[in-house]
């Protein structure tokens, strides 16, 4: 099952490398190494069967999701911290797979996001044929990943660009309208150059998982509805100070979240109705954080917050048990 998830992520990974360079691969390798090491270490410490724990590939999925969340230029110790926190603290301290309350990848990501804000905001410019940008070579990327320093003569400002979400958020702060901001070629057609195409490739993998019945429709639908309904409404009411629903859909991690992050069965709600509610809640929170929060994207926080709501959601959305009175009596 987890192997299918990894395969489904492959198109998005290739797109990521194409637009943001080979750094993604280094991050993926480092995250995988530390996730697997953490998993092995903790399983050993808990006296469980290491082979069984590693053979379900769940730690690799965690690593992959974490890698997708990281900027392509990330020093190795940042990635390692996130990976270890995800597996050791968020997963194994709660009892290992099946018992973790929080989505491990998102827990790991949030920890490094608040611990290393500078490193976590260094997004290079996406590959754009028609615009000037500086890209690092493979060796330069590797050097940065290992040492955390850029080649001589290059500053952070020269290579990094604000992500579309950042740009829009700070643009609104400067009282500019969405229409003005969209003129910037970096904004692409909907959600930003590169980002929207990565989104498309992510969606391909997502649909494949749906067809293979590895994930179910309720959570993705819930996430999209929860995000796009308020986004659409606000955009209709005031298109100046609100980003379009298309922008919300294609920028940041919306699509990845809907198909791959929120659908982690362990930390998600488990009844059919509950999954819709859970997904919808995540969508709403993503919108709220992007619109009113201080972080540019809110996927990780939204997922973690809804993780906490899961027991209540599950309890309140129990399906009608055959033979029980139709209206559930309060007890």
């Amino acid at each position: 099952m987890m192997l299918h998830v990894l395969l489904a992520l492959a198109p998005a990974a290739l797109a990521h490398v194409w637009y943001f360079g080979p750094g993604f691969l280094f991050n993926l390798i480092i995250a995988s190494a530390f996730c697997v090491a953490g998993e092995a270490l903790m399983t050993h410490a808990r006296g469980r069967d290491i082979e069984a724990a590693l053979s379900d590939y769940s730690s690799l999925v965690t690593a992959a999701l974490l890698a997708f969340a990281l900027p392509s230029l990330t020093p190795w110790w940042v990635t390692a911290t996130g990976a270890l926190f995800a597996v050791v603290a968020a997963k194994h301290l709660y009892g290992g797979i099946g018992f973790n309350v929080f989505n491990p990848a998102m827990a790991g990501y949030v920890v490094i996001l608040v611990t290393f804000p500078l490193e976590m905001n260094l997004w290079v410019a996406p590959r754009m044929g028609d615009i000037d940008y500086i890209s690092l070579t493979i060796m330069q990327t590797l050097a940065y990943t290992v040492t955390g320093s850029l080649p001589d003569g290059l500053s952070f400002d020269a290579i990094s660009r604000a992500t579309p979400l950042d740009a829009v958020q700070s643009g609104f702060r400067d009282m500019r309208t969405f229409a003005e901001l969209s003129v910037n070629p970096m904004m692409g057609d909907f959600g930003g150059r590169g980002w929207e195409w990565i989104g498309n490739f992510t969606a391909i993998g997502g649909f494949w998982l749906l067809v293979r019945k590895i994930i179910r429709w309720q959570i993705p639908t819930g996430v999209f509805a929860g995000l796009l309904l308020p986004a659409g409404l606000m955009y209709l009411v005031d298109p100046g100070t609100n980003a379009s629903p298309g922008f919300h859909l294609f920028s940041g991690a919306t699509i990845l979240c809907a198909f791959f992050i929120a659908t982690d069965p362990v930390s998600a709600a488990t009844s059919a109705k509950g999954r819709v509610v859970y997904g919808f809640g995540i969508g709403l929170l993503i919108f709220a954080i992007r619109r009113w929060g201080s972080f540019a994207d809110g996927v990780a926080f939204a997922v973690l917050l809804m993780n906490m709501a899961v027991p209540a959601i599950d309890y309140l959305t129990r399906p009608h048990i055959v033979g029980h009175p139709l209206r559930r009596g309060r007890q």
Binding site: M1, G98, P265, V266, A272, I321, V322, G323, P325
Partner: protein, 505 residues
């Protein structure tokens, strides 16, 4: 002639399982010859065991009563062939709890002489329903679908309810089992005549005969006989082949779209369900005076040389039947009495077939359970649960022994069909865990009841002691009062007496 209909209610979940039925339905039903020894348990039904009324050494005839119905949920046992009683002793049996049970053992004389019916009976439709019901009780007839609930008692409960439909269950949804299929193919008239008797006993005007779509030959045969009988009250219904649509409550839901209330019976929604085999057994008893002394059993699986359906006398051992079916194959590994989903695995083929035995399944290997892993809450189990439970949540609460949550999530509504086990990617034996949790819940309830009884006893005792104390006190007070009235002389008298008393001690 009524055509099969499809206007059905919906059942949640369920599974399309591989049927494995064609192996055993290729040939007609064979009769297993009467074996040298018959082993008849005195408890072949749910409820109180029957009381033996024969002694060792006594000669009995086929159809003779050898153990009487006892208690409110009783069913009698009849000798399944003629011969001599040689023992009444514990013998291995296949049942849910325990391995041995008291059995009456008959050494058959090979003559198979039947007992003469005591009286000639009038035709059933001239009998009053209550007379018919008590007659059914004497036939030792129990539900042959597997639940073995005494039929007469089920009917007696049913006549107290407002009934609309008689439902004959010919669904037989569990893999491998095909005895009802073969019964309907070869004895459709007995089944339908049984339905007519039941309708008369219950004063009902509609009988649905429900058959799964994977039994076209049975459906065709039933339809033919219905045409001959020309009884408009009989309606044939075809249901999709989905396990577990043959469960009593599930069948009611499927056919009438009514849910049997939790803790209730199909009669609560106006339905009485009987297995087709039971209907045929009732017909045989009422019309032919033959009590329940034999049944059709499927003997199948890749561990059996010639899978088939046999009609065997109750009390024939599994070993005899397997021999009749060509013996075991080299691959035979596991013996299951009943189907692969709800059957009971046994370790010896000395067990006899009883009223409940619808299948003898011999498999080459135990269905591989796989290594159990933690639950990842994928929810596959909830998708297939016919009761719409959340097995993933129940499992969680069962591990935590959280009784109130288990109750609220409907543990007691679980029908133990095993669908969740089959789809679980982590290979968790959910049904077994739920069975255990139910057991613990029952224990807890018993414990509570015991504690309550103890408390009541204690309170009654303290009340009694208090009362006695009060009586003593008032008596003493009276004495004091009397002494006061009598004056100092009397008191001196009393004191003297007391001193004397203590001196005596």
């Amino acid at each position: 002639m009524s055509a099969p209909t499809y206007d059905l209610g919906k059942l949640h979940g369920g599974l399309r399982l591989e049927g494995h039925k064609s192996e055993s339905t290729a040939q007609a039903i064979y009769r297993v010859p009467v074996p040298a020894q018959l082993v008849l348990p005195i408890a072949q039904h749910v409820g109180d065991a029957a009381q033996p009324i024969v002694g060792i050494g006594e000669r009995v005839l086929k159809g003779q009563l050898i153990a009487e119905a006892y208690g409110t949920l009783g069913a009698p046992v009849h000798a399944s062939s003629s011969g001599k009683i040689v023992a009444i002793e514990p013998w291995p049996v296949a049942r849910r709890y325990g391995d041995n049970a008291p059995c009456i053992i008959i050494e058959s004389d090979g003559e198979d002489r039947a007992i003469e019916p005591a009286e000639t009976r009038p035709s059933y439709d001239s009998l009053r329903p209550d007379v018919l019901l008590s007659m059914i009780l004497q036939g030792g007839i129990v539900g042959l679908g597997g639940a073995v609930f005494p039929t007469a008692q089920k009917l007696m409960q049913a006549v107290t309810c407002e009934l609309t439909y008689l439902i004959l269950n010919g669904v037989e949804c569990e893999p491998y089992i095909s005895c009802d299929d073969m019964l309907m193919r070869e004895h459709a008239r007995e089944v339908l005549s049984g339905a007519q008797i039941l309708m008369h006993a219950l004063s009902l005007d509609v009988a649905y005969i429900v058959v799964e779509s994977d039994k076209p030959q049975a459906i065709q045969r039933l339809a033919e006989v219905m045409g001959e009988l020309d009884d408009e009250r009989l309606v044939l219904k075809q249901v999709p082949t989905i396990y577990p649509s043959g469960g009593e409550d599930q069948l009611v839901q499927l056919v009438t779209n009514l849910e049997v209330p939790t803790g209730g019976l199909p009669t609560d929604v106006g339905c009485l369900v009987q297995n087709v085999g039971t209907a045929a057994a009732i017909y045989k008893w009422i019309a032919d005076h033959e009590p329940l002394v034999s049944r059709i059993t499927t003997v199948t699986g890749d561990g059996i040389a010639q899978p088939m359906n046999v009609e065997a006398r109750l009390g024939t051992t599994v070993a005899d039947i397997v021999n009749f079916a060509g013996g075991y194959t080299e691959r035979a590994q596991q013996l299951i009495i009943g189907g692969p989903m709800t059957g009971k695995s046994v370790t010896t083929d000395r067990v006899p077939i009883v009223k409940a035995t619808n299948c003898i399944l011999v498999l080459s290997e135990a269905p591989s359970a796989g290594v159990e892993r933690p639950c990842i809450r994928c929810g596959e189990c909830a998708e297939v649960c016919p009761i719409q439970l959340l097995p993933q949540q129940l499992f969680w609460y069962a591990c935590a022994d959280d009784e109130s949550k288990l109750r609220r999530h409907g543990l007691t509504d679980c029908i133990e069909c095993g669908c969740c086990d089959l789809v679980c990617p982590s290979h968790i034996p959910l049904t077994a865990d739920f069975r255990k949790a139910k057991g613990r819940m029952q224990e807890l309830a018993d414990e509570k009841a015991r504690a309550e009884r103890a408390r009541q006893r204690f309170e009654a005792r303290s009340r009694r002691l208090e009362k006695e104390q009060r009586e003593r006190d008032s008596e003493l007070a009276e004495q004091k009062e009397a002494a006061k009235k009598a004056g100092p002389a009397a008191i001196a008298e009393i004191l003297k007496r007391k001193q004397q008393q203590s001196g005596d001690d």
